[in-house]
Symmetry: C2
Subunit: 385 residues, 2 copies
């Protein structure tokens, strides 16, 4: 993977795009990425699409051919990769492997999701397909309900209160408030966090990330070629995928994200880096408990101590470990199958020094962590200047 | 792609497996392939899954983590690839690229589909997600209805009768009758073909392939390593993917499968072969009109003449161009997202000389052609001894 670089990025705002279809959202992100890279559509050899719920919500499988044609790429190799809300990150890895293998010279990786067309029980049912259908969702479990049980267990095991998680959301919204592509740009006050309306006790509205519609794209080519094409190519230094039992109740320790631990250590080893080399981290903050568990599994905090990074204010743009720098899933929004690609786009902007008001000073190496569901799938990418 | 070989294959019978779940079908194929290769599960580095309708029919997305864990591969890199009924073939290509790129040494590619749990309008709605949801299925179009229009137009344009297509199905069922894994093992008589009950005029029950449940698996590794591991590794000589407008009405010529034409010529060029080198061809015979159009687009017949290969009896096991040698989609059954992997398994058996009563004499090079929907996606693999 050493020889793959990102030469273009594009994104739409995340939100409730009721008047924009799946294909139109896709087109916007593809055109933005092509323009950013300064290359013509004909330059592309393949289109890899990360999407989770196109079939369930838009009655649309077979997105490869559909979006390729709609984006003026008729004929191109195109297909969809799926692993719940890790779909976009999985697509990014497959796109990179296509370049690394020599099967393609230039690949556009698109993450797209259109989820807000349905609400209530339909949305809940769609999201529950990320769980084990026979042993979890068939009995009424939903992702947020299981995260709530994890949070309760964590609070009990480590003697932590709801308010101790507040700064994860405060930080995400502070960063999201400066990101024109963020779904929520309001600021959250720490002392109001624990009093927010409940979603699934103890998880509240200020704690859990909202699903949103959106599309993001990155363009990959070999690092040799990238240097000739753009002034600031960003190297894909490593990528890794690992899995865990899909159902949390099948895991030896439900409070440890072992897939993420594996993927992070594989990626760091392959890039010959350690945690302390990471200047910016986009992680899967679908709820503050997931952020906490992710920081612990990936070695940025000791087990039982992940929440302290927030409580001790170490995660801001100028902090020890800047996370959710454009708002994260919490404030930028969680466009499910597009999330992994948004994270990559955001890290690229950071490493280019083009993150504007969201800039992390002197960011040279960034990591993205994307989870499918409750960590059944974990995908890690390391990007560098 | 020159250095990837298949070292193990496995398959379940195709049929109505009402008492076997998606995960159990998967496990059966995975275990069969591991046994065939004579390797331990721990040898695998990745699991790539082709599946089309797990979310729509079994409420189960996120199959990578689910099936990896259920098959005793917890932790392994795993994800799903989707492109309608080309999903399995797309997964095969991505698995091969993982080996070719060096990201994985040994990869298991699984195709799995569980479709017969729903019938009637639910099945029809699920299959219609392979079409353009806004411009085809929203108006009531289904895949078989569109194939019927293609067949009618073909019959009119080239002055061909329904009976002229009969031998495609006669051949498929003759071969399927000898395949213990085939969904339909009855023999069809040519003179009864045109009188079969109609599905979507002029397509009848003897013309269109049935969807079925099933799972198939192949294990890939580098060709160098393959030679050390098994006595008869089969080389993946080439693979290629191309797309077309998803909606047939958007194509310049609805009777020409241009994605397939592109994928076939890319694959042949990359393997430095021509059509005449192909000893066995597994194509996407979802209906006789698709077989006809596939033979024409891929250069095995002139435009307007594809049906003659059947009418002139050239497609049998000892014919000029043996097709559907284990029954094809028509008689072995069409397990949608698993189909491309079944085709690869069957060609491997042919090239090993282990096809039993279905053996094509002296088969040394085989091609698989897998279509998504009505050819919006086309995937071609060339395998050789």
């Amino acid at each position: 993977m050493q020889n793959v670089s990102i030469i273009g990025v594009g994104q739409t705002p995340v939100g409730e795009h009721w008047e924009t279809s799946l294909r139109h959202l896709s087109l916007q992100a593809i055109e933005a990425a092509l323009q950013d890279a300064g290359i013509a559509p004909e330059t592309l050899d393949a289109l890899v699409i990360g999407n989770a719920l196109g079939g369930a919500i838009s009655d649309q499988h077979h997105l490869g051919a559909l979006i390729a044609d709609f984006a003026g790429l008729r004929g191109i190799e195109a297909f969809r990769v799926e692993g719940a809300d890790a779909s976009g990150a999985l697509a990014l890895r497959q796109g990179a492997l296509m370049v690394a293998s020599g099967a393609a010279q230039t690949v556009l990786v698109l993450g797209v999701e259109k989820v807000t067309d349905v609400v209530g029980s339909q949305r809940t049912a769609a999201l529950a397909t990320f769980l084990d259908s026979e042993y979890e969702s068939a009995h009424g479990a939903t992702p947020v309900a299981i995260m709530a049980m994890l949070m309760r267990r964590y609070m009990s095991q480590y003697n932590v209160k709801v308010a101790d998680f507040a700064n994860f959301s405060v930080n995400a919204h502070a960063n999201g408030s400066k990101n024109p592509n963020a779904m929520y740009r309001n600021v959250i006050k720490a002392d109001r966090f624990a009093a927010a309306p409940l979603v699934a006790e103890p998880i509240n509205l200020f704690d859990v990330a909202p699903e949103g519609d959106g599309a993001a794209a990155v363009i990959l080519t070999s690092s040799e070629r990238a240097t000739d094409l753009v002034p600031q190519p960003i190297r894909l230094m490593a990528s890794a995928v690992a899995t865990d039992a899909l159902a949390v109740h099948d895991r030896a320790n439900p409070l440890f994200l072992s897939a993420l631990q594996q993927a992070v250590s594989k990626a760091l080893r392959s890039a010959e880096l350690s945690q302390s080399d990471i200047d910016v981290l986009e992680l899967h903050d679908s709820a503050t408990i997931m952020t906490t568990l992710a920081l612990e599994a990936s070695g940025f905090a000791a087990v039982g101590e992940g929440w302290r990074l927030a409580a001790e204010n170490k995660i801001g743009l100028t902090g020890e470990l800047p996370i959710s720098t454009f708002g994260g899933l919490k404030a930028r929004g969680n466009p499910l199958g597009a999330t992994g690609v948004y994270q990559a786009v955001e890290v690229v902007l950071q490493l280019r020094g083009k993150a504007g008001a969201n800039q992390v000073p002197e960011a040279r190496i960034g990591m993205t962590q994307t989870l499918g569901g409750l960590g059944g799938t974990a995908v890690v990418h390391i990007l560098g200047v």
